[in-house]
Symmetry: D2
């Protein structure tokens, strides 16, 4: 850590900061510049709350040298993590596709979609039973009935299932059905939920928050990992920017950035990023070529009648065609799909 003192800092203030750092277990190393003094503080104290130093008199700013995440970072674990969900491996050579509707609406149509996406090549089935909706008047999901339908679809198709949890009180219930538990964008910093999901030891699909930095996202992963659960799949789903031509702005540079900072696998959700099915194909190709370990795509048997996110859902036939387009792209970057 580097502490930058303001140009008017007194010698006494500098000494006080050094003393405090030393009390916290750091070795200190002041550098007296022409105008300002900076203090190097040696010691990896990420687990320590050193924030208070920044409010000591004479301190201008703090510059951390180490990343704040330990477990999620590359520094202690160089080798990429492969998350295993039964025989499906996320983060290996294969690009894994997850697909399904936004919300589960009824058993018949859900199993129909499940069969279609399986036939097309998806390995994991997505579907929402508990839906976080912007409006209290919108459809909120079938809740446990939805989970039962998901289980039936798994039975019928052999696909693994991923579904979202939105309340700490539902974690056990959802964990008893799902193969992968999803933390949605709006709950990325619902720290209590992260802890509870961490405690289940189930694989977690961790969506990036609507306006979360990559560092905050990896700190959310750190919350889950601090509970002993390292089966985390990051999911980029677009961030909020000033641009309104798409619902969110897909940040594909998050792929090489997280690959550099972290050992965790990353998948991309082009459906939520775009907000319209029309761009899903182009963004899916881009995500795979950039290096994504998988995709999660909304597919609905009749988007015009969907209770949720119809405009961004593909019909099964389009989805099947998309997978065929994606296979050569995966191959071109040395992956299998």
């Amino acid at each position: 850590m580097i502490i930058v003192m303001s140009k008017d800092a007194t010698r006494e203030q500098i000494d006080n900061v050094e003393k405090k750092l030393s009390d916290l277990g750091f070795r200190t190393h002041p550098i007296f510049g022409e105008i300002k003094t900076v203090i190097g503080a040696i010691g990896d104290k990420r687990l320590l709350n050193t924030h208070a130093i920044s409010s000591m008199p004479g301190v201008e700013s703090l510059v951390p040298i180490m990343k704040p995440f330990k477990l999620a970072g590359r520094e202690l674990k160089q080798v990429p993590t492969i998350v295993e969900v039964g025989d499906v491996r996320i983060g290996g050579d294969e690009v894994v596709v997850m697909a399904g509707p936004c919300a589960i609406e009824n058993e018949e149509s859900f199993i129909g979609v499940a069969e279609s996406v399986k036939a097309a090549g998806a390995k994991i089935l997505r579907g929402g039973a508990f839906k976080p909706r912007t409006s209290p008047y919108a459809f909120q999901g079938l809740e446990e009935d939805g989970l039962k339908i998901m289980a039936a679809a798994r039975e019928a198709t052999g696909l693994k299932i991923v579904t979202e949890v939105v309340d700490t009180r539902d974690v056990d219930l959802i964990a008893s059905y799902a193969d992968i538990i999803q933390i949605g964008a709006r709950n990325m910093q619902n720290f209590r939920l992260l802890k509870e999901v961490g405690a289940t030891q189930k694989p977690v699909l961790l969506k990036r928050g609507l306006a979360a930095t990559i560092e905050e996202w990896l700190m959310a992963a750190e919350y889950i990992m601090a509970e002993g659960n390292s089966g985390i799949i990051l999911c980029e789903r677009g961030i909020r920017t000033y641009e309104t031509a798409t619902r969110n702005t897909i940040d594909l540079s998050a792929i090489p950035v997280t690959k550099e900072l972290s050992h965790l696998p990353i998948v991309v959700d082009p459906s939520h990023a775009a907000g319209t099915w029309k761009y899903v194909s182009a963004l899916s190709r881009g995500a795979i070529a950039t290096g994504a370990d998988g995709l999660i795509i909304e597919v609905h048997h009749d988007p015009g009648a969907a209770l949720c996110d119809g405009p961004q859902s593909l019909r099964p036939s389009k989805f099947s065609q998309l997978i065929k387009e994606l296979q050569p792209v995966a191959e071109a970057v040395g992956r299998i799909l």
Copy 2:
């Protein structure tokens, strides 16, 4: 609602959309332009899920004419809401100041700060017992012990107390202590939590999400109000932008905007917006002059030793001086402080 059809939409597609709208209870009104057709759909159907129309073939976009919030909006309730917390009225002539430390650390110092802020003119005491922290290794709050300390401080000073809830499982506990329940920025779209807090019928301080639009914020209020709880105090606390000179960018235009769209009172948190105590005074003056109904300010007896948010906390003496600066500003805009 206006439905814009794409320029290649066929007559049949236009007819299908009209039929669907009609089935949903709208009266329709197509306008055939030179290049595109638009369909006016008459009927206030905000409580209806009309989203699916946007994925019908030939539809380019949907333009809502009515705001999506009913209870939180000005359309059904013109007169401003005054939230009463005992004898403290938020949204009336008085500018109400809430103050206290980020986290409750121990009884002695907390009651000390409580007495200071009361002497300076604050009416409500803030303090965190359950803290949402970016790092799992940071201090997470004293939990129920913290609530007990808050209650003791209320006893000692007569101040009302406001504290944050971060988990649906804690709502009843917190409601049994707090005078106002705070929903933090990170939980603004934790819809389950909003519902539970709505059900308590206690006044709620609803912070704006880190990157929430004003419309989403009012929809969060709508969630609480849909449970029959109308005692909502909006709280602007800075939004996330590209600018890093301040921790967040305070959006004071949110004051006139929410006053136009909604009847709910709004207070401003300059401490979290700025991220440094140095700008708290200027932003507090600006907030009151712009029309805020109150302020919530972090005050700590020794910011350099604070377990949380030290850099943005004022010492009690500075806080007392600030209130003196604010009184003429409040008066200049016809308010009392």
Copy 3:
């Protein structure tokens, strides 16, 4: 155009707005809703200033139905534009690569880089002679001497050359040397410069502004096209967002969006977007797979000694290897490179 009247609008105000629209040549079509009235105004009047209507009494908002760009849009010209620069065609089957250093520093090294990038497969040579730099104390370019060096490099290699113009006074000079004139991100809304560059009738590489919407970008193209110059190549180079892990956030969804709205070709600049050479390879793959018509990449013979943008420049050997990686990706999406 749809005019939304406020719910308190009087009948007289509605009539006034209708009359004004009618005076401007629109046919009007009022729709009286339960709470609000909207007025449909038929007629494609994009070339008309209808903005003033939004400040008439009783008007709440204006909803344009047609896009504001005519020449740059798809509505009047469905077939994609191919920009021809000698025998290089941008927007056709081939993915065209432009490469070279940020700034031209001296003839020897520039020609050396030119030869390397040509050998690797680039078709167009980039290099800055007039540099817009954030600091007045940074190297500002060799000016006309730089242009002469570019011309010599073209002579030596047969590559076409692209270089930036930053001042209306230099347009003729630069047009006399360059094959493609570049408008940089900071000048995307320097409308006088756009007009002058339009008047040269030379191909233009139009970078997206740092925080420009896609609509504003296409309006900048419209300025150039309104001068009769339709040889425009759009260039996505990252936008400003809250995320600081990369210098800018590359917006690859701009590719399908501009392809839908416009007939103009689009290339991607991964170097400026990332701000570091480390992510250039991944983002280049992603751009091509998403559908970019080309790339513009910074290459320097010795990045550690570069006078400008060293950190984001590739060495010639890395560039050559990158092109080899990109070829199968281009093929996978049906393109040649």
Copy 4:
């Protein structure tokens, strides 16, 4: 400057960086941490291009300790700058109001507005003769005829005049008429224009770019000051964010931030920030209370007929009433208006 080496940096790489720093005139000071090495480089070398170091092998990042601006910063000039425009002083005790229409449309109405705003208390008259418009089909200003009308209005009222320059070729012409030359938001990084305007030695109103950081804005001021012109008035006019409820998001925290970093005065433009006249009053009050040295407000005799920015313009009567509201606010913060 602090150079952070990556954790895999070799001893040789560290030595190379030290040597390069030493060649550039820095004294170096390596600190060997447990995991990473950082190198302190002593010497105020802001005028030097040290950027290249960041692309040397083994270097992870550079942390500047000194701000990049010298002339615009507080470090070399502590005392606030007061810009004198005849007998009007900007940056002193008085809050100075500039007012007038977006564009000059004809002499009669412009002089009418000038007389009204003077009577209300404005000291400076604004008006556009050269207009940067998003659409090439929108009214672009009366050009020199507009300047002549401005001069006539100055003659008639005694007000000082401020008007925008958008092209280096017009600088001398505009300087021959204007008392203050305005650099608009879109040209804040038109560096050639900054230099030319600097050379005129006339006072400059420097608007913040649409998405400019405060640091970039002060670097733009530095460009002007590097030409020997220190009469710069900063102007906050709203920044681009994800929020669309206002045209831009007014960043009032820019007031205390620039006051801390710089000695230059700052005024606020609530009209462009809000995009609607309805919020101008609230934001003007907020700006003054936060500490602005002045305001620049759009006033038009008939907003519904304005050729430019009608929706955000006040009628003269509203403007006059606004000034009366602002006077007690200015007084409350120890200023005169």
